[in-house]
Amino acid sequence: MSIIQVLFFALSAFAIGSAIMVLVSKNPIHSVLWLILVFFAISGHYILLNAQFLAIVNIIVYAGAIMVLFLFVIMLINIKKDSEPQKQFLVKLLGVVAGGSFLTLLVALVKQTAQIQGRTLLMKDGVIGLIHPLGKALFNDYVVPFEISSVLFLSAMVGAVIIGKK
């Protein structure tokens, strides 16, 4: 195994293990902290794919900002373990069935996708993930979608301020 494969499997195991811990943890704060670890593992995968910009932005935006806000809200509303609503057995069972079906669907879809079949992952290779090619692509080939999405963000921000002022 090359060092990249070792890293890939280590990161994958880390990501999946942390993701399971997000679900298993009784305490919502612990769940959020495990989720932060998941984001770190995913950023590690991005670095393996040589997408440094995506990796670091994932940490800044998700692990750094959004998760802080999550923690913030959970700490403020202060959920206690005993006040957590206990779900009935039937609801739990339905949840497991629905989640399992969704997982099957996802795996089936990914397996059938023509773009993925018979192709290996570009590891530590390719330049599209570096900032210069990424910036050029965004501002030349995809400039209209880019501008539209920024307008969308702006309207979301204005909307949030208006809702907050009410």
Binding site: S2, H30, Q52, F53, I56, V68, F72, M75
Partner: protein, 347 residues
Amino acid sequence: MTLLSFDWALVIEKLILIVIIVLTTLLITLYTTFGERKVAAILQDRPGPNRAGPFGLLQPLADGLKLIMKEEIIPTSASKWLFILGPGLAMTASLMTSAVIPWGTDVHLFGRTIALQVADINIGILYIFAVVSMGVYGIMIGGWASNNKFSLMSALRAASQAISYEIAMGLALIALLMTTGSLSLKTIVADQAAGNWWNVVYQPLGFIIFFICAMAECNRTPFDLPEAENELNFGYHQEYSSMKLGFYLFAEYVNMIMSSAIMASMYFGGYDLPFFDETTVAPNIAAMIGVGTLLIKIVLFVFLFMWIRWTIPRFRYDQLMNLGWKTMIPLALFNMLLTGALILAKL
């Protein structure tokens, strides 16, 4: 075995560099606490610590020893693992910044060219930004795990303060990137050292915004609301004792040193000694001069931090938020527009 097929010499070289940087930073930190007390004493017209050793120079060792020897208390209602994780995380996050700072030009030793920078990644500035946004977790986790209302309030304050000032900080950095055209700190410093003006000449407003935000990110007075002892007893580290408390206190000083290093590198030429041509001396000596210059710049910035701390009183919380959102962010946006217009006008 292909697993071992990478350059071990490089790994060892980087490991030695990391150990040197971390140890030096911790040593400087130790004496920064001493410096803080001396500066406070000078500004308040009193002698300051002068009992331990000549001029009180052994005082930080005595302080450190005291912190280590104190009894370690973990509150029974605290969440134990997170309580231990908090200070460690705070320290790790503040030390991680040092990875991308170029400490000097290349050194030639044993036939190898050794870069005095742990990692020259082409997203260096974004990396710093990511680490800064990680720094708040140490405080938040510690504050929450203490299971104390005051600690929790303080942790929430720290988080909201950090998030608010990160935005203005990022916007100030974007204006800097527009002038330098590179995210790599090595390139930014090398450009400034190559005889150009320092970036502060092109970005005076950006530097002031960055400096104020750095002060807020380090929780330094006048922005030390998370430690406002008259409102919150002692802040997020109220339940901590012994070296865990020491880690929180030291992390603040490490943060200060690291943000000084970043400011020196990005706006004040990094290891560049002004009016001195480095090519006239041997490369190794030039590198050592560079390291010394950067250290002097860091010390000057740290002194500036202390000077401000002991001169300006603390903000009220709403004033802090108003300054962050209603003054700093519009100013940073204006700075960005101005920079863009100037770049366009020059073309």
